[in-house]
């Protein structure tokens, strides 16, 4: 049983890393693109 759980933990670490990257990238791109758009409007 320990070996089965172990197998999920190992793959799970990569899955976790992937989710962190996807979420961080999504949030940052939304925030920063919105901020850039606001700055562009303000300068106009």
């Amino acid at each position: 049983m320990g070996e089965i759980i172990f197998s999920f933990v190992i793959g799970g670490c990569l899955v976790l890393a992937g989710i962190i990257l996807i979420v961080a990238s999504s949030r940052e791109s939304k925030r920063e693109l919105a901020r850039l758009a606001d700055s562009a409007e303000t300068s106009d």
Binding site: M1, G2, E3, I4, I5, F6, S7, F8, V9, I10, G11, G12, C13, L14, V15, L16, A17, G18, I19, I20, L21, I22, A24, S25, S26, E28, S29, E32, L33, L36
Partner: protein
């Protein structure tokens, strides 16, 4: 054996020629230390992975696997792989934004305090000298195995080659040879591993052969590995050892000079994250494949006297000679590349981080750095000749020093607005000192400390806890200044040129690639090992 000696000489020669050619293009200190800050994803991934793997990944680590701790290392690698993503997100890319050349310089700039730079410089030099020792030892062992020359002669040759390379090539030469070696040993090792696994009957026979092998180490195929191999006396202790070291290495990937420091070379922040994703996948999947080759050798020769030579022995005795030469030459050059990286970091740190000094020109700065490198290289040479410990032990000690000393100050410098110069400096010093004391007590086997400082009381965790305490205390007693706040605010701004929707979309594709790699890894482990081992299929 002659073919292997020729292969080594060719490897050395290519290495030095590349260094000399690239060295001609080095015009400034920026070129020398951070390759002009334009490394692409593949270059950065190559140098990151080679720097991490170095010689230890092919010798010390494989010796541990051969001795029964395959699952221990696989778990450790999986945990630390996360550091390749988290590290850049909470530290690495901010380091790059400051345009510093070294990490001690970062601590000095971030906290507007030269004392922080000096403390970080001392820790860098201690830690990297230890790592240099490990790589000198590892490459010398390899050279000794190939040539039959005495150990001391091999150490001298390794020292001379790496020092000469470092003098002329700098990080530009290192990143080019790192990429060449990354491709050579990646490609070569895949074929070598294939031949090793085939030599004992093929992949489908690996598990049945190991199960039937009376000489296999105790616990090899169990989830906890060989318990005594981790210094533990229970399955929980064995797992905790892997978890602790996995966290240590995750922190190393996040804040160490030889990993996070590579981010200084990146073309932009998206490159850092993508290179990190590639390295995370390689750390789990490629190393798992390499480890399988090492345990395959148990079915061919289960009585190796020195387990850390397992892949070297297999490259000479099991696989076709040309492939063996390719792999061993690649490992040799990877080790020499690491030596050069460490020497150049030590040289620059000692020259500019410890003492406030004005240099007339970049040429003068580089000249002073080279003199320091020569001196430190000689010290490392003498310590290597003394044969203090195995490659894995020294390398892991070096990583623990950095992780313990810099985790709080490094990550805190980004995520905390309240961490002051005094807090960061006290955190680094207290983390370093408390780790060195507790680690020495454990290393020397002094009771009751050696039995007490394990699992959650591992010297790493003690160092981090004390570091955090002093960070809070120092920041309360001496709060941040206006200059620190200004620098922090500036550091938080993402360069406008990097805010491109298409680039973020590509970053997310690498994220999906990581998820897919995780699913594939779990599937392979389940059907290739866990289910058959437990008799379910």
């Amino acid at each position: 054996m002659t073919l292997f000696i020729v292969g080594v000489i060719v490897s050395f020669s290519i290495f030095l020629i590349v260094g000399l050619l690239v060295g001609r293009t080095v015009k400034s200190a920026d070129d020398y230390y951070v390759t002009g800050r334009n490394a692409t994803t593949l270059f950065l991934a190559g140098t990151l992975f080679v720097s991490m793997l170095s010689v230890n990944g092919f010798t010390g680590d494989q010796g541990w696997v051969y001795s029964g701790n395959l699952t221990s290392l696989v778990l450790l690698n999986a945990i630390c792989a996360i550091g390749y993503i988290v590290g850049p997100l909470v530290f690495g890319r901010y380091l790059r934004r400051t345009r510093c050349r070294t990490m001690p310089e970062y601590f000095g700039m971030r906290f507007s305090d030269l004392r922080n730079r000096r403390v970080a410089g001392v820790i860098t030099i201690v830690s990297i000298t230890a790592y240099l020792l490990a790589t000198y030892t590892g490459v010398s062992i390899l050279l000794q195995e190939l040539t039959g020359l005495p150990f001391w002669a091999c150490v001298m040759m390794v020292w001379a080659a790496s020092t000469g390379f470092t003098f002329y090539a700098g990080s530009k030469g290192v990143i080019v040879t790192d990429l060449i070696m990354f491709l050579v040993f990646m490609g070569g090792s895949v074929f070598v591993c294939y031949f090793i696994i085939q030599a004992q009957g093929g992949l489908s026979e690996l598990m049945p052969n190991l199960i039937a092998n009376p000489y296999k180490p105790e616990g090899l195929l169990n989830y906890h590995g060989n318990i005594p191999g981790t210094g533990a006396d229970s399955a929980f202790g064995s797992i905790m050892y892997s978890v602790t070291l996995g966290i240590v290495w995750m922190v190393v990937f996040a804040v160490s000079p030889w990993q996070a420091g590579r981010n200084l070379m990146a073309k932009n922040e998206h490159v850092i994250l993508r290179a990190g994703a590639i390295c995370a996948i390689l750390t789990v999947m490629y190393l798992l494949f390499l480890n399988m080759a090492s345990i395959s050798v148990l079915n061919i020769n289960p009585h190796l006297e020195d387990p850390q030579r397992v892949l070297i022995w297999a490259s000479i005795n099991v696989v076709p000679p040309l492939l063996g030469v390719l792999l061993l030459s690649g490992i040799m050059a990877a080790g020499l590349s690491s030596d050069s990286t460490f020497l150049s970091v030590i040289g620059f740190s000692a020259t500019t981080d410890l003492v406030k000094r004005e240099f007339k020109s970049d040429k003068h700065l580089l000249s002073s750095s080279r003199k320091i490198m020569l001196g430190v290289g000689v010290i490392a040479l003498i310590l290597t000749l003394m044969g203090l410990a195995g490659v894995r032990i020294i390398a892991w000690f070096a990583s623990e020093v950095i992780a313990s000393s810099w985790l709080v100050a490094g990550v805190g410098s980004v995520v905390s607005k309240k961490l002051s110069s005094t807090g960061a400096r006290w955190a680094m010093m207290s983390g370093f000192i408390s780790f060195m004391i507790t680690r020495s007590l454990v290393g020397l086997g002094i009771q009751p400390f050696a039995a007490l400082f394990v699992n959650f009381l591992h010297p790493f965790f003690i160092g981090v806890a004390i570091s955090l305490l002093f960070a809070i205390l120092g920041s309360r007693l001496h709060p941040i200044t206006a200059a620190e706040k200004e620098f922090y605010d500036k550091m938080m701004v993402i360069p406008a040129s990097e805010v491109v929707a298409k680039e973020y979309a590509t970053d997310r594709k690498f994220g999906y690639l990581l998820v897919a790699a995780g699913v594939v890894t779990t599937t392979l482990l389940l059907f290739g090992w866990a289910l058959p081992f437990n008799g379910y299929i």
